[in-house]
């Protein structure tokens, strides 16, 4: 069954959607969209280093993302520049360093479009194993730390006062986010991965009224986006990453409709 490139893409993509659902919700609750974007930009550097030193791409991206996250924490202690300025600084400088390094690696054949937008149709069986095993680990950890992480998301002081140890779990969450980006970078690409984190979660928020519901609906919307996106990509011969994000956007627009209707009915 996994002989077919399209089936492989579908299996990997659905795996990614299941991981990005809950993490995406946390990203928008914690207002970390730009942070996710920064990690994704730095992933290009991770990929370049992986090629340069023949490392596993997911591993290299994970390490670089984790280093960037730590750097950010360190910078926040050293300067009073606002968080978004620091993120912008890290995002674009790591992206630039990555692109400069690519220039040095001219001997290696590089598919820069694939890096930026993902190449879900070049997914191997190993990639699928990586996504599903890695995803299983990430979701398993998330399940165990959910209560602490969630309470710290609602109110840090309250969680801290009532013994939920939010600083430890915030750190773990950052590593999980780096992990998700590492797993999905090859298929979705550095420029679009934040989209798959945020858009299904945002669409889900429009039609749900409690946190668990929002997480599950975000997963469903993610799976729908990946599935319809891949079929579209096959039919219309478009890049897979952008196709998935466009479908997610369409689902987001649809999610706005019931809200509008409800508003009109109340008037």
């Amino acid at each position: 069954m996994l002989d077919d490139f399209f089936t492989r893409a579908l299996v990997a993509g659905i795996g990614i959607a299941i991981i990005t659902g809950p993490l995406g919700c946390l990203v928008i609750w914690r207002r970390l969209s730009y942070f996710g974007d920064t990690l994704a930009h730095s992933a290009l550097l991770g990929v370049t280093l992986a090629y340069a030193f023949s490392l596993n791409i997911a591993f290299s991206v994970f390490v670089i993302s984790a280093v960037i996250a730590l750097l950010l924490l360190n910078l926040q202690k050293r300067t009073r520049l606002a968080g978004d300025s620091l993120l912008g600084l890290l995002a674009h400088s790591t992206l630039a360093i990555g692109l400069v390094l690519i220039g040095f690696l001219s001997s290696i054949r590089f598919d820069i479009m694939g890096l930026l937008f993902g190449d879900i149709l070049a997914v191997t069986v190993e990639d699928i194993a990586l996504v599903w095993i890695g995803g299983f680990i990430i979701l398993g950890i998330l399940y165990f730390i959910w209560k602490s992480l969630f309470s710290a998301t609602v109110n840090y002081d309250l969680a801290s006062a009532e013994g939920m140890k939010p600083n430890i779990y915030n750190m773990i969450f950052t590593l999980l986010l780096a992990g998700v980006i590492a797993l999905s970078i090859k298929m979705i690409g550095t420029l679009l991965i934040t989209g798959l984190l945020i858009i299904p979660a945002a669409a889900s928020r429009n039609i749900t009224n409690n946190p668990k519901q929002m997480v599950f609906v975000a997963i469903l919307i993610g799976i729908l986006s990946v599935t319809i996106g891949l079929f579209t990509s096959l039919e219309l011969n478009t890049s897979s990453g952008p196709s998935i994000i466009v479908i997610a956007l369409i689902l987001f627009i649809i999610s706005l409709i019931p809200l509008e209707l409800r508003g009109k009915l109340q008037k």
Binding site: D157, A159, E162
Partner: protein, 246 residues
């Protein structure tokens, strides 16, 4: 747990935030069954002191000793973004696992059980304050820290909530640390008063604190006296639109 067990003690503690000490030299204790109140003007370090007790802020000098982990907290301000869909029932379960019945029971104590399935975002300031207090009660804490728990609550509601707070201390035998502006309640219902202004101005039983010169200086002679002995007798009632009816 018996009465007068030491729950938490702060010794000569202070928090430094460049370029000054927010609060310094604070020593205080909370025992079970006791209500300790922190009073003082804005910026006098009341919330900072409460946060030290809760271990949210680590003292830069001095030390904190805690003898219980069953702690509940009602913070001064909580903003929950619309992005987070949250019903009252989800909020009640934030830091512990409660059955629906336990939740309804503690919402009932502050008179807001009908809000069970409501979205947090739709509550009024007073309703939210009651939910916050219910959530803390539901934890059956040994130490309860309340930072301005009646803000945004209307006058009669304020009396209700203060009565509930008195009852919690009696029924659960828990120690309460209360940050309050309401000198009347502080002086009539609490066991120990700590008057802060960047340091401890004076502290002790309410009856001795109101005679203390530092207290009178801080709150002004007139205000400290009138508020202390102030008794509010209604000779009329208000309809819900505010008009006076006798």
């Amino acid at each position: 747990m018996s009465k007068n067990n030491l729950l938490v003690s702060l010794e000569n503690a202070g928090i430094y935030k460049s370029p000054k000490w927010l609060i310094r030299g604070v020593s205080l204790e909370v025992k079970s069954g006791q209500i300790v109140t922190l009073i003082g003007p804005n910026g006098s370090g009341k919330t900072t002191t409460a946060k030290m007790i809760l271990n949210i802020l680590e003292p830069d000098e001095g030390s904190l000793k805690r003898y219980t982990n069953k702690i509940a907290y009602v913070p001064q301000k909580i903003n929950i973004d619309w992005t987070m869909p949250l019903r009252v029932v989800d909020f009640m379960r934030l830091t512990n696992n409660l059955s629906d019945n336990e939740i309804i029971e503690s919402l009932n104590q502050t008179g807001v059980e009908k809000l069970f399935k409501e979205q947090i975002h739709g509550l009024s300031g007073g309703e939210f304050q009651r939910v916050l207090l219910s959530r803390a009660i539901a934890k059956k804490p040994e130490l309860l820290v309340l930072d301005e728990p009646v803000q945004g609550v209307d006058f009669n509601g304020e009396i209700d909530l203060y009565n509930i707070i008195k009852n919690i201390s009696a029924n659960l035998n828990c120690g309460i640390l209360l940050v309050s502006h309401d000198l009347h309640f502080v002086m009539s219902a609490t066991d120990h008063v700590v008057c802060l202004n960047g340091h401890i101005c004076c502290s002790g039983k309410p009856s001795s604190v109101i005679k203390d010169e530092a207290y009178i200086e801080l709150f002004g002679e007139h205000r400290s006296k009138t508020l202390t002995y102030y008794q509010h007798d209604h000779d009329h009632t208000h309809a819900s639109d505010g008009s006076v009816s006798s």
